[in-house]
Symmetry: C2
Subunit: 396 residues, 2 copies
């Protein structure tokens, strides 16, 4: 019989997708250049030429059967080796290729990491604001997700609430830094305190609490931001990465899980991920993409536009009197709406062709998210519309 659980999920239409569809429809009416669509987190910078060149070289020079043949079930050895090397050089880690499990993007990475270090019925903790897809990843593994409310003054971790909520059923804690939707990077102090608590509570409960770090925005960090490598702070860390943002390759679904060599089960977690794949039909990410990314995994696209855009938007928001924490990275910013109901606020903004996303679904009611992965020229025009909107609707 048709599975009622998945059928029932069809009703819940994504707010982001609805807004994005509205923006597309409105764009047809007034010209897409006149719709200020801040709804979608789709990278807006060119893929590095080195990636394209390497893809073409592989297609022109390599034997097609080797190039497109099955990769070993735990991944292409070159890809694993190059990633380990790159992480070791950049973050002072000591990964071997055996600690790297290639996945279809960060979604695949988190889905595998969760299954590896939890059992059905376990609890996992995430911190608001958070990426709503964590819900399906965690319930899909049979676990319960508990969300620690946001510290809205800084969007670092609300440790008081965390300490109230942590308990012996918690198998793993999930962090996302730099953060979607707030743009905030967890500081050295935050990660140090988090690690101290996890060590203390692991001892108290008699089992290690794992830390799953979802970090697809790791390479988009702004000047002066304190955004250290999460796994440096805590041994039992699984780092989940995607090249979606750093190489502007979101559609190619290429990422990995990197298991800290000092993590409990470090020698078996990658092979276990291989077993987890068998049940979900995940398999390896595509062979040619693994091979091409292996050659460029330490490069990034030119990500500077995101910082340029952030500064323009942040300055305008402050000038207009918005409450907003300055992002440390990503291509998101999350100001407080000018009225309590952020949905009403975002609806009013639509009249000015400004497409914002209410952050209620991210666990930050009253706030809204702007994804500024768009051309700077458009950001500048959007600020004119934003000023008009705020003046006319809120008299500021």
């Amino acid at each position: 019989m048709i599975n009622e659980q998945y059928k029932s999920m069809l009703g819940a239409k994504s707010v982001i997708r609805e807004l994005s569809e509205y923006a597309t429809a409105r764009g047809k009416e007034v010209g897409y250049e006149n719709v200020f669509d801040f709804s979608l987190g789709n990278p807006s910078v060119e893929v590095p030429k080195e990636f394209t060149d390497e893809m073409i070289r592989l297609l022109q020079e390599e034997d097609t059967m080797t190039l497109h043949g099955y990769t070993p079930s735990l991944g292409n050895p070159l890809y694993k080796e190059e990633i380990a090397k790159s992480l070791n050089e950049r973050f002072g880690m000591n990964y071997g290729p055996e600690h790297i499990f290639p996945t279809t993007g960060a979604a695949g990475a988190v889905a595998h990491a969760v299954r590896a270090v939890t059992r059905p019925g376990d609890e996992m903790i995430a911190f608001a604001p958070y990426f709503p897809e964590y819900g399906p990843y965690i319930t899909g593994a049979g676990c319960k997700l508990s969300v620690v409310p946001a510290d809205t003054s800084s969007f670092q971790i609300n440790f008081d609430k965390f300490l109230e909520m942590i308990n012996e059923n918690v198998a793993a804690v999930l962090v996302n830094t730099p953060n979607n939707p707030s743009g905030i990077a967890y500081s050295t102090a935050t990660l140090q305190r988090l690690a101290d608590i996890l060590r203390e509570k692991s001892k108290e409960y008699g089992h290690n609490i794992f830390l799953i770090s979802d970090e697809p925005y790791r390479e988009i960090v702004f000047k002066g931001a304190d955004s250290p490598y999460v796994s440096k702070f805590y041994d039992h860390t699984l780092s989940c990465y995607s090249f979606s943002k750093s190489l502007s390759l979101p559609g190619e679904r290429i990422g990995y899980v990197a298991v800290n060599p000092a993590c409990e089960g470090a020698d078996i977690i990658v092979p276990m991920c291989g077993q987890i794949s068998r049940g979900t039909g995940h398999n390896c990410p595509p062979s040619i993409i693994q091979q091409a990314v292996a050659k460029v995994c330490s490069l990034t696209a030119d990500l500077s536009v995101y910082e340029t855009n952030m500064n323009i938007i942040y300055d305008t928001l402050v000038e207009l009197g918005f409450t907003v924490v300055k992002p440390g990275g990503t291509f998101y910013i999350m100001p407080k709406a000018l009225e309590e109901d952020s949905v009403a606020f975002c609806k009013k903004a639509l009249k000015y062709d400004l497409v914002f996303v209410p952050a209620d679904g991210f666990g930050a009611p009253g706030f809204f998210r702007m994804a500024y992965c768009i051309d700077t020229e458009k950001v500048e025009r959007a600020m004119v519309a934003l000023k008009k909107f705020v003046k006319e609707e809120y008299g500021k």
Copy 2:
């Protein structure tokens, strides 16, 4: 805590992988050209030039952000449309793009199809001989797999046993034709009878029993074989396909689920697959591969070598007195071993550098599988070794 279920799966080493590793090690000793490795089903023919050309064209001509950007969550529209058109033209179906869900190969396709039309606790039936990975796909969805014993005289369906085993808890039946490991294609008569039984039992039990058809070998069919399109026989069919074999792209993990337009839930199964992906972190197959395959989805690599190899092997096996059913397709053949214990038989064959796989794990004890996706010249030399082996060990 480390998930014990996945940890416990690490012990069970794959027989195929062990044999393949043996073959590689032995190859280093005596030269790989002297090891007759029939263990692995890795396509051995060139990828069509049209695919490579289209990949290079996309990389050289398309905007990189569009080319590598997020695809819609239910797949690239062109890919869905071209596949629907191709299936309609070739098999007289009437799929629309809304019936096609792109997946990471046939593994992803079966994993989604199973979740869409079963509920945890349901029973699924497959027919021996069968691909052992069906086990994890089905238990991964929380279902129970029951396997109907083989009809060893024809390797068509053993209908007497099937009728004994089918019951009202059966949510779906899984077929694989042309079949791995037997190489047999289900005939028109077999599929007609299967469909009749499913219709009758669906009526009797008051719910439709779904048919999941795993058909990655659909395009490798030999002269004179009766190998019709499964979904033509039964409305409630989900066809699972991979381009691994037809385009020699196993490492690129590109396939789909095609939902019969007359199937119960035909309008919601593809969107449900999108929801299923959220929980497993599957997401869409890679953007560039979807776009390139869209252009070549009706082509195949030159698959004729598989038939050439099959005829050489089949004739030799018959000449040597093996009991064997002639394959209708694939690149497999599954003769009866010359002693009851096929594991012992395969071990003895290793002395002659012949690497065969005991078919016990495929639900056909006493038989062994040969994967003949290797050069014809090597097949011919292998037949000399096979004759020597049979003469010296079994006096034939």
